[in-house]
């Protein structure tokens, strides 16, 4: 958590984020972890990642997706994704990378 705060929050501010975990997905069960967060990528990358024109995360592992997002959040801003990646907590980047890697 301290690492997240260092990454995303100016020293003058404190950001508290609630962490509520839900059980894993199953038929008839609660929404899968990360689905709601991951769906916020679909505006540009298509519903369940099936858009066209921008680069895709389909077929990539969770680690690959996370590493890409992490790199985007650290490098100088050139594209919208460099901004978007800065908008999530580190925990959220992991959670949505895990979910997006399950789509195909």
């Amino acid at each position: 958590m301290l690492k997240i705060l260092r990454l995303l929050v100016p020293a003058s501010a404190t950001l508290f984020l609630s962490l509520v975990w839900h059980s894993n997905a199953s038929a008839g069960g609660p929404p899968p972890d990360g689905r709601l967060l991951g769906s916020q990528c679909f505006q540009c990358h298509g519903t369940n990642g099936k858009g066209s024109g921008f680069s895709t995360f389909l077929g990539k592992s969770s680690t690959e997706i996370y590493n890409t997002l992490y790199e985007m959040s650290q490098r100088p801003v050139e594209s919208i994704m460099d901004r978007h990646a800065r908008g999530y907590t580190d925990q959220q980047l992991h959670l949505l990378a895990d979910y997006l890697s399950t789509l195909n």
Binding site: V9, V20, Q43, C44, S52, G53, H84, Y88, T89
Partner: protein, 457 residues
Amino acid sequence: MTKMIMRRNFLKAAGAIATLAAIPRAVQAAVTPLPRVVVVGGGFGGATLAKYLRMWGADIGGINVTLIDTNPSHVSCVLSNLVVNGTKTLSSITLGYTSLKNRGVTFVQGTATSVNPALNTVRVQPATGAAYDQPYDHLVMSPGIDFLRPPVFTASSTGGDFDSVHAWRAGPQTTWLKNQLAAMKNNQTFVMTVPKSPYRCPPGPYERACIVADYLKSKKYTGAKVIVLDANASIQAEPEGFGYAFNTVHKGIIQYVPNAKVDSVNLATKSITVTTDGGATFKSYTANVLNYIPNQKAGSIAAPFADASGFVPVEPLSYSVKQAIDGVVYSNVHVIGDACKLPGYDLSGKPVTVPKSAHMANSEAKVCADAIIRSLGGFGYPDDNIATNSACYSPITKSVASWLSTSFVYGSVGTAPNLATGMIRTDLGEAPLERISSDGFQEMFIWANNLFADSFT
């Protein structure tokens, strides 16, 4: 219908009519086959909500979704300034509901005229036939904006009310504006207003000024001008990019006037009077084309749930309304998109506005859909590890575009016990000047097409 009455009586007996959201579907299943969600307004927010409720509703065995809109299809505001300059056609940005119907959404062309939250019904006047009450378990209103009258208004002899020359809802007015622009000549003036924040699409008015200036330049008109009367103290979105566009790209054509509070609008003389010093002095502008974009409020169906700002305060995790009606807060009534008002803060705890945009409405619809599914399924309500975002591209000429991005995460900022809780703006930024480019212009269509598809198909 009989089933719904039975169910209502059952709920009333349980003393739970206002806390319907808390009743697990297992209990509901005993009296009604599928939970009913009624969505009022088929723009980006409402369409996305209807789609995702059907797509994700399988979690709980399905949801009966009814989408109500006055029009048979939705004309996108996104890209509509490119209809004004002739780059796009209106039909190319008209989005139908066929795909949503194929997903099992019941589409009703009609107008929702009032809500009876105590009875869980919404009054519908269909395009054809008699008015009726539509029952719901959850109601989601995504009505977009309505407009506020200026202090003084004079109509023209050919009619048209104060809200007839904004082109801030895409459709017939977009075509009207395009025709007005096409009729301009040398030494003529286009006068437009920027509404007081918050308003729909923060970069939109500045984008329009750029598109109009670019068009006038492309026609090689001499002495043609664009006067931008901004009710705000400064450019409200992409200040660097639009500052560059106004002062460099369109230098000599765009005249920017900040702090311009509209006092009177006269459509007969195409003139508008503003004060920039709080009413000490007034200045009138006479236009060849007057594009008056009024200040805004929530769409009228949601007005009973609005506060003094004219917008509807909602809970950021569920988009449930916060305003009580006759002492009752109805957690099964939700408002998303341009009509809603969220508690938003920057990282220092300063209040900020969550922008009103198509992309954000889509984002909010997903949060709302997830919360409704958790509520109906009794899975724990709602998820609080949420994020929303908005991105957009803004053309500053007919071949070059800038972009804007903002991100929000639910949480609290500050130092206990003085915490501000809500949607925390974790990032905000615009295209670096060197990235305002023709590449951006091409990416704009990729973004728009994917946004259209994620919302309407």
